[in-house]
Amino acid sequence: MAPVIPRTDIPVIGDRAAVTRFPAGHAVEDGNLVRSARAGDESAFARLYERYGRIVHAVLLARVDRQDVDDLVQDVFLTAWKRLDDLRDPAAFGGWIGMIARNRATDAHRRTAEFVELPADLESPGATSAEAEANAALAAIRALPAAYRETLVLRLVEGLTGPEIAARTGLTPASVRVNLHRGIKMLRERLDR
């Protein structure tokens, strides 16, 4: 018999994106919130923002200049608010807003690409050593493959546990655990250099 394509629990290898699967109950709640928001219910959209704000923030922080992230988070949710009617499956809001965030990060990166970037670990005037160390750690995370850096930002910056990351990104728990394990291993190697 021919080999079967694995369908679940696929770990992320390098930049390969894992399959997204949201818990059914979670997705149903998202769908209800999206439908309410489409009808103009701002509180429903605020609830979606509560659920996914940190995810979007992490996606952006893993990719674009830290100073721009807060504005871009607002921008991503504003885009989602305006384009809610374009979302074919309301229950798929989590994957959809993550995709908007990644596209927005790409766009922001393109717009700033023509400027020469300073070394990521360059200390700003008045920076404390802890700030400098935090900057260096963030820069090291951002140099990791995409799948690892997003997961590590969610864990180390946003403070989500692995199971929470799995629930909100739709990645399987096994994928998240492997991403965390391999990501922290690579991060340690980079920080030890």
Binding site: V4, G53, V73, K82, L87, R88, D89, N103, L187
Partner: protein, 342 residues
Amino acid sequence: MKDETARDDYLWDGSGEPEPDVVRLEHLLGRYRHTGAPLKLPARAAAPRRFALHAAMQILVTAASLALVALSAWFAYSVRSSGWNVHSLAGGPIIAGARVDGPARLPIGEAITTDGSSRARIDVGSIGVVDVEPNSRVRLVTARVGEHRLALDHGQIRALIWAPPGLFFVNTSSSTAIDLGCAYTLKVDDRGWGRLAVESGWVAFQHGGRESFIPKDAVCATRPGIGPGTPYYSDALPGMEEALTILDFSPTQDVRRQAALDTVLTLSRPKDALTLWHLLSRGTREERARVYDRLASLVPPPPEATRDAVLRRDRRALDAWWNALDLDSASWWRLWKRKWQK
């Protein structure tokens, strides 16, 4: 995998012995955490309100005046600025009979033409760039916020688009390419035969009710009067492309079809589930039944994708099986309404 991660309990869910360097990183990086600043949203739907008649009239008059001014300004602006920026990458491309040497404008309705030694780059508004390769003719059809559309009459373009899916389109004589956030190359020869190769992301190729979804590293042909063929990965085994050409573009009574289908089914690897899924809704019922069996051997159908439902081309059954293919991040294009089908 469990052994590999067994010592990461603290990293995983905060249980177990704290790892000092992870704790240190949490402490350092926590300063960058999302603050949850309140969103500032514009109203989606204004609630109905009652106005006194004179107040309403005042608002109407003011609004009408403002609209008139805005319309005039918009018209003046659009006359000056409609179209996209273009510049030459090599040689002397032609727009409206004039050679392009420096920065130029491609107005809506106009075409840019390159000869054997010229190339040009079109800025697609602020959402991407399109390189026009030698011996090509490209027209600008639409340039507005929600729709950016070119027509490739013949030749080759390479598009790099960073906008959300469904905003950039390229018409050809046989299909329309709908960008789903990607980079791709599209060729059309003088017969109108096209070939699309995707470098990153996904592209939808559509004509009438027939559509193909082409991921990174896959290609898809198209023919006038028929539309897009079946996508296949560029590393498909020898013989696959030729067999698909017969299946996609020959009449159902063509005697070569059975052998072509034999070839496709035999050569299909697990990753070619992409190709087989597209074939589930094409060809005769007998052909589709054979495709069903082969695909089922590679990717077990989910409960909704019964043999009967799939052979009836039931949309829900086909979608369910597609979801089971685990095509990496492919599911995201399905989140967007297919506006181009309207």
